[in-house]
């Protein structure tokens, strides 16, 4: 036991003291925020403003209704062409248009479903959709006028019925907040599994490659060595996570104190989260699924690291099936968030390989409202059994792999090692 403690200490301290740990701890939240805001910014900046000639042969389109649409919507500008149609079609470029649409002589009672936006480039829906929307708004105006529907009636016609899902057993539950928290929690676990899982793999490979493994196993059992490494790196991940929670709390408190515009929206978001979600339970479950999921996967990654040689590609090809499991979990999570009580969500949150990610996405919807206690208990019990199995399995492979040089074993051979006596 004392020896495992020494190994944990070494693994933990050598990693936490590294500059890369400090930098990544600080940068990750910034990158995360940057990604969210950056995407919106890029979408805004990359909007294309085209000049489109509308060659109207139906006679419904007028300069007024087109000008009105151009004024309320600054996407691509439309321009009505009536007389010089032939010359525009022949040479739209020279006349300053990016493309043209020909509207044939159609009746207002029937729509028309084969208009073409003709141009010399391929445009995607990001360009096509706003043009289509603009034309349709004009078309609606034309229909309203012809049917003599005034503004008041138009307002009445736009009224619809809205249905919101409400859980009677958990009145506070707010599906939007829950969805947000579910996504964040699921993705955080996903990142942790992949990033720290591969750290375990690389750590084991390093020991094997520089042959320190041989010195260490002459002092401790290979199983202790593997367990020490997994626990040490797990603690590093936990430390990083606690620092992030501290970061959020600081932003929250500073935001509340200063009360700036941007800060208050963050504070509001967090407050909203506190009122609609059982935060202590979510945090406890996050801690559990994060650690148990980490043990489950890092044991497998450790076994792969011990079986591979210096070659990074070998390790990657062996790790592929394991990484696939993590990626499938994320796919299952998106399905589970859309329908948190459906059969996919229930089963995926109980089966060990996907439960760390999928269950974490469901829990914010409410326990026991959405996730009954028995499901949570079963999921946790299975995950504990699951990681005990993977750690045992990995230990068997590790013991043989760590001192084996030469040919890369296949998964079939590794499974044979695990079930071999002695």
């Amino acid at each position: 036991m004392n020896k495992i403690w020494l190994i944990i200490k070494r693994e933990y301290l050598t990693r936490v003291r590294k500059k890369t740990f400090i930098i990544s701890t600080l940068l990750f939240p910034l990158l995360y925020l940057g990604l969210i805001f950056g995407m919106g910014f890029i979408a805004e900046k990359s909007k294309q403003n085209l000049k489109v000639a509308v060659i109207d042969k139906s006679g419904y389109f007028t300069d007024e209704n087109i000008a009105y649409q151009n004024s309320i919507d600054d996407n691509s500008t439309l321009k009505l062409v009536k007389d010089s149609a032939e010359s525009v079609i022949a040479d739209y470029k020279a006349q300053g248009y990016d493309g043209y649409i020909v509207i044939p002589p159609i009746n207002w009672k029937e729509g028309y479903d084969s208009l073409f936006f003709n141009s010399n480039k391929s445009y995607g829906s990001a360009v096509k959709a706003p043009i289509e929307a603009k034309l349709n708004r004009i078309w609606s105006g034309i229909k309203n006028d012809s049917l003599r529907i005034d503004t008041e009636k138009q307002t009445i016609l736009t009224k619809t019925l809205t249905v919101t899902a409400k859980n009677l057993e958990d009145e506070k539950a707010n599906a939007n907040t829950a969805e947000g928290i579910g996504y964040v929690a699921g993705f955080l676990i996903y990142f942790i599994l992949l990033i720290y899982g591969s750290q375990v793999m690389m750590g084991v490979m390093e020991e094997k490659t520089n042959r320190s493994a041989e010195v260490i196993v002459s002092s401790v059992k290979p199983f202790q060595m593997m367990l020490g490494k997994i626990l040490g790196i797990g603690l590093v991940a936990l430390t990083q996570f606690l620092l992030w929670i501290a970061f959020v709390l600081i932003v929250y408190n500073v935001g509340k104190a200063t009360g700036g515009d941007m800060a208050s929206s963050i504070v509001g978001g967090i407050q909203n989260m506190f009122t609609s979600v059982n935060v202590p339970l979510v945090l406890f479950c996050f801690g559990f699924y994060f650690l148990a999921g980490f043990f489950f996967y890092s044991a497998l990654y450790g076994a792969i690291g011990s079986a591979a040689n210096e070659d990074m590609r070998e390790a990657q090809s062996l790790a592929f099936p394991v990484t696939m499991l993590v990626i499938i979990s994320i796919a299952l999570m998106t399905a589970a968030i859309k329908d948190p009580t459906g059969p996919i969500a229930v089963w995926a949150s109980i089966i060990p390989f996907s439960s760390p990610i999928v269950m974490m996405a469901r829990i914010p919807y409410g326990v026991p409202g959405t996730v009954p206690w028995w499901q949570l208990g079963l999921s946790m019990a299975f995950l504990i059994l699951g990681f005990m199995f993977t750690v045992w399995f990995a230990g068997k492979i590790y013991r043989i792999g760590i001192l084996m040089y030469g040919k890369k074993p296949s998964w079939k051979e590794m499974i044979k090692w695990a079930f071999r006596k002695n």
């Binding site: 020991e207 520089n210 041989e214 002459s218 002092s219 059992k221 001192l403």
Partner: protein
Amino acid sequence: MTLLELKNLKKYFATQKAVDDISLKVEQGQIFGLLGPNGAGKTTLIRMITGIFYPDEGQIIFDGKKFDPIKDVEYIGYMPEERGLYKKMKIGEQTMYLAQLKGLKKADALAKIKQWFIKFEMEGWWNKKVEDLSKGMSQKLQFVTTVLHNPKLIILDEPFSGLDPVNSNLIKDEIYNLAKNGATIIFSTHRMEQVEEICDHIALVNKGSIILDGTVAKVKQDFKENLFSIGADQMPAVNGETPFDIVGTKAEKNIVRIKEGRSSNDVLQYLLQNGAQINSFNEILPSLNDIFIKLVEGTPAARQFQKV
């Protein structure tokens, strides 16, 4: 007193009988040379002695008791052929870590490390990283980490590779010292001149079995070919009567083989009677290198796969 005894050890792998029925005795304070060509099974044998592998069959008796791979590793120091240290770790911390893994208390470990670092002039290394060291320097460090916890049994796999003569001698003296203070040393190598110089006792392993086991002097006697080198003026001509055949010359000396049934006295007598002026007369014992090659010769250079 016997420190280590191996009884009928066997370890088979999927394609190899790596160790096939090996029995050995190593006495306390001995410097024991474990020799053998590449792939003979030396490393597998050593890994069983260090508790890394469990034997399929057979027994290891360590210090009078059955070997306990968990407790007894504290009394063993093992320096593998491939040097294994963490490149990014500071040297002081790394040495501390390895010493503590061997069961030393922190304070004891620190005192011992200081002592050894002073002895090997490594005091300034404490905060350096292993990646900053040259090959020879990291070799010295590895040696220190191997012997730091005062092991009863020290196993050194090619300890001199990559060392310059000065550092080689430093380590060699330390090996003698350790043996004098009661440590037992198993020394695995292919470098025969070092074995001849350092070891008391050798065992030659080939294809997983012991093919030769004895003291260096005895082994040499067993393999001698009755060769003598004679430095003499007016060497008499050789005919049917002479008690020896001349097999060659080397550095103006004749190399002779004494005929079956004759002794070296017969040779001297013959030479003196025939008016030779003898300047030197030496027995030529085979070098371990010759014996090694002779015994291992005919074995394919690479070990073939075999059915187990």
